[in-house]
């Protein structure tokens, strides 16, 4: 029996080899690491070891591991959320009516502003335990990833090709089989890519959420973020450098061990009819294939997953035309319900905010929001002026593009808040104007999205169009205006949307910076929210976050969406 199941094993070809030794070592090291760290999350907050952070670099690997595990936990949570939320939204038309707009708004809420809320909430769930703080931190990372990933899967589920759906139906696949054989595989490339992008954002949040202060209380979860926060308090620039190096190593490992193999694997699910140029397999995937035991294990896992997906669960997928009349009635009831809930929610928020605040406060928040808006706009223009020409230059040279692309992606993943201290030091040393010089911090981490999207756009620019342009001796400004910029606009807009969204979020940590006792504050909505958080003034935090969400939404709706739609319609090549 077993011989028929695993003939290769019976032939003895799959005995462990030397590669397995290396692989097994890695697996056990990871397991031991997790086992070592996990119990500490259940310690009491007032336990002596629980929340003390030391600047001794010996502890850095330990801190890095804990930071990484938070990322992992958030990733798992995000995936669970993605699969349930996106599936619900895609499968039920009525659920989609409410789930999709919610997702859209959640995407533009600067979650960092809510950090104090979530900390209080999770601490009340697990009073006196470190677990509450850990969950709050994980939740912050989760919020930076989940919306994006859910949107990606939702869009994939909605755009499954009609002929494949018909094929699945005509071969009597059950709803369960259809989901795992057709819909999920179709969504995988988009999901993997979006997960990778969201992870980039996640590092920023993990660093920001490890050291939290609400009112008079300050907690520091052991991790790279807290390490940096402590280094700032103690004015230890060397420790900051150590942290930067540790973070570089962690991101590099994450990229190499997790995402390179994942992206290579997901290429299999890409919906294309022609075999494109396939990139070389990443080394980890090759290692996995070379090891006997590991690849046997991986096959086993793969087969099990595939078998579960193939189970003929649920009723036979039956697609009849639903009766129109009864569904209209339900639609009406559903709609009335939604409106009622909406009105209730608005009343609730108004009640909460207007208890302490008046119109003057709203005016102040909007005014500060305008200041931050000016910052974001100026930064976007500056970053574009710098990175578009550089990106085009690189993108048109394939050899350079191949090298620069991963680098830019890597820089985007690096949490920019780790790089704040040197800049702050610089401002303090030369006593510069905080309103102006703190501003660049907002794009420190997000400008790379513009760069690598422009590189991708320029690299994809058709060779014949370039030849035509040089054949007609089109050069200088005309070349930019009529040839290159229209050609890369769809890519540029994609990058700029991400960059501007990230900059708004970064404002909350970038408009306030400190070095020991010296505190630098710029005028803006980010600083307003940060200050309210410091004072434990929840109503002002809510007001600030709501106003900022409004700004982000308007910015997206009035500028980026139309620009994106325009470039998609007119300038998409091919």
């Amino acid at each position: 029996m077993s011989a028929t199941l695993h003939p290769a094993l019976a032939e003895g070809r799959r005995l462990p080899n030397a590669w397995d030794a290396a692989a097994i070592l890695c697996v056990f090291a990871a397991l031991i690491g997790i086992a070592h760290e996990a119990p500490s999350t259940f310690e009491r907050i007032d336990a002596p070891q629980a929340l003390t952070v030391s600047l001794d670099p010996v502890h850095l690997p330990d801190y890095a591991l804990r930071t990484t595990m938070r990322m992992f936990a958030a990733l798992v949570a995000s995936l669970l959320f993605t699969f349930s939320y996106a599936t619900a939204a895609a499968k039920s038309r009525r659920a989609a009516l409410i789930l999709v707009p919610i997702l859209d708004i959640l995407q533009s809420v600067p979650i960092l502003g809510f950090l104090s809320f979530t900390v209080v909430f999770f601490m009340s769930l697990f009073p006196g335990r470190v677990l509450g703080l850990e969950l709050a931190s994980i939740f912050a990372i989760f919020t930076s990833q989940a919306w994006n990933m859910a949107f990606s899967l939702y869009q994939s589920l909605k755009t499954v090709p009609a002929d494949l759906k018909e094929a699945a139906d005509s071969f009597h696949l059950t709803a369960w089989q259809r989901y795992w054989r057709l819909e999920v595989p179709f969504g995988i490339p988009g999901l993997v890519w979006n997960t990778m992008m969201s992870m980039s954002g996640g590092w920023f949040f993990v660093v920001a959420s490890e050291a939290v202060s609400v009112g008079d209380n300050t907690w520091k979860l052991p991790g790279i973020g807290s390490y940096v926060a402590l280094a700032l308090e103690q004015r230890d620039i060397r420790a900051v450098c150590y942290a930067i190096v540790a973070m570089l190593a962690v991101i590099l490992a994450y990229d190499q061990l997790l995402f390179r193999p994942l992206v290579a694997w997901s290429a299999k699910f890409r919906f294309e009819t022609t075999a494109g140029a396939t990139a070389e397999d990443p080394w980890l995937l090759r290692l996995m294939r070379r090891t006997r035991l590991m690849s046997w294990l991986a096959d086993g896992v793969g087969d099990t997953v595939s078998a579960v997906g193939g189970l003929p669960l649920a009723l036979r997928a039956y697609r009849g035309t639903p009766s129109q009349h009864s569904s209209r009635l339900f639609d009406a009831i559903w709609f009335v319900l939604l409106v009622a809930v909406l009105i209730w929610a608005v009343m609730k928020i108004l009640g909460f905010v207007s208890a302490d605040l008046g119109l003057g406060d709203l005016g102040q928040a909007v005014g500060l929001g305008l200041l931050t808006l000016v910052r974001v706009a100026v930064l976007m223009v500056l970053a574009s002026l710098i990175w578009v020409p550089i990106g085009v230059w690189i993108g048109l040279r394939p050899i350079w593009a191949r090298r620069a692309q991963p680098l830019a992606q890597f820089l985007a993943a690096f949490p920019a808040n780790l790089l704040f201290p040197p800049v702050v030091l610089f401002i303090v040393y030369f006593s510069l104007n905080a309103d102006i010089w703190l501003t660049p911090l907002m794009v420190l981490g997000t400008q790379w999205y513009i760069l690598f999207n422009v590189i991708a756009g320029a690299a994809a620019f058709p060779g014949d169009l370039r030849e035509a342009a040089s054949n007609f001796r089109i050069g200088g400004w005309l070349w930019w205006r009529k040839v290159m910029i229209p050609g890369i606009l769809p890519y540029y807009v994609t990058g700029a949307i991400t960059a501007s969204g990230g900059s708004w979020n970064a404002a909350i940590v970038a408009e306030v910076a400190s070095w020991g006792d010296t505190k630098l504050t710029a005028h803006g909505l980010g600083a307003y929210i940060a200050a309210a958080t410091d004072h434990g003034d929840m109503t002002r935090v809510v007001l600030g976050v709501v106003v900022m969400s409004g700004f982000v939404l308007l910015f997206n709706r009035l500028l980026w969406r139309p620009l994106y739609a325009y470039s998609e319609r007119h300038l998409k090549l091919g």
């Binding site: 028929t4 090709p161 002929d163 494949l164 018909e166 094929a167 139906d169 005509s170 071969f171 009597h172 696949l173 059950t174 089989q177 054989r181 057709l182 595989p185 995988i188 299999k268 699910f269 890409r270 919906f271 294309e272 009819t273 022609t274 075999a275 193939g310 003929p312 036979r316 039956y318 697609r319 009849g320 035309t321 129109q324």
Partner: protein, 434 residues
Amino acid sequence: MDTIVGQQSLLEVRGCRQAYHKEANSDLVVLDDVNLTLREGEMVALLGRSGSGKSTLLRIVAGLLTPTAGEVLWRDRPVHGPAEGVAMVFQSFALFPWLTVQENVELGLEARGVSRSERESRAEAAIDLIGLGGFESAYPKELSGGMRQRVGLARALVVHPDLLLMDEPFSALDVLTAENLRTDLIDLWSEGRLPVRSVLMVTHNIEEAVLMCDRILVFSSNPGRVANELRVPFSHPRNRLDPAFRQLVDDIYGLMTRRPKQSVRAVTSPATLEVPLQRVGTNQMAGLMEALAGPPYNGRADLPALAAALQYEVDELLPLGETLQLLHFAVLEEGDITLAEDGRRFVAADTDDRKRLFATALTAYVPLARMVRQVLDERWNHRASAVRFRDELEDHMSPEYAEDTLRTLIGWGRYAELFSYDEEAEQFSLEDIG
């Protein structure tokens, strides 16, 4: 025994009607009163133009669509949802790109809960039968179009269906590959090696239908109806050059160019928006008229011969010919096309005169064109939104047809300099119109 089995009816479609509900006006009818009986052991073609509803009928038979009225009986039981014992081959192949050839073929068996070992052996048998041996572990994107459709066939055959449905299975393939696949399939069928009892295929290729099938149902369009039913009396293998074969192909051309009565009225009294315009370019029209005017045709051509000479399929040539007829540039009769007086003048004219002739024909015979121009002339700013006309069209046809019709009109009107069109604002105007 054989004859008794051969007479047993597998499938019956009775009074089938498919309509899409429209809010204000009457329903949009795609299929109207279609009857069809399929017996064991026969291969039947549904032949018709694109938009004649033949693919819709195939999907109704497959249980993928529920008809608005009428019933489908499969083995004397009404069909609700995808029926057991019916498998389908798709025009676009519809292979799952993330599954290997083997896994794609096993899919239908897996859905039935067939055990793994049986799945593998049956899939291998089907793969070998269809000539794909050695490609089991390949992914679809590594295969050529012909090989992909072989996978599609193997995937359908592996479940040993009683009825094999094929939706234009060869139309996405090049001529040689398609012929190769057809011959292989016919060989398997006539040798009795296909594990199916009967085949129903949709095609717009007349020769393909005559080459493969025992019976041909010719569809008319708007709404789709079975206009004619023909028996193909030849035995396999068939010879395309056999005079009897050619005659049958010619006859079917004649049937397909014969206009149903109500459409004739639409052409002669053009006061209606009901007839959708076909997506035919002005260059194609001019090209066809020039070809017709020149030798060897000198104004009159036999459609099958013309199609062969121009390397057009009937599905491409007929819309072109009908559009010329609509504009009174040519006349279609019994499988022939004749250049009319207006057509001759068009061919002889220079660029500007051609535009003028075309504009005259448009305003005279295409009510929609006349309406657009009239509205533009009446408005003070000479602008009108396309949405307005699209809405009006959608009262008479499906949104897709309305969109196609409007697109076609925009192309024709721009060429004729009857109006201009701003894509961004979706507006007709008289800018730059002399």
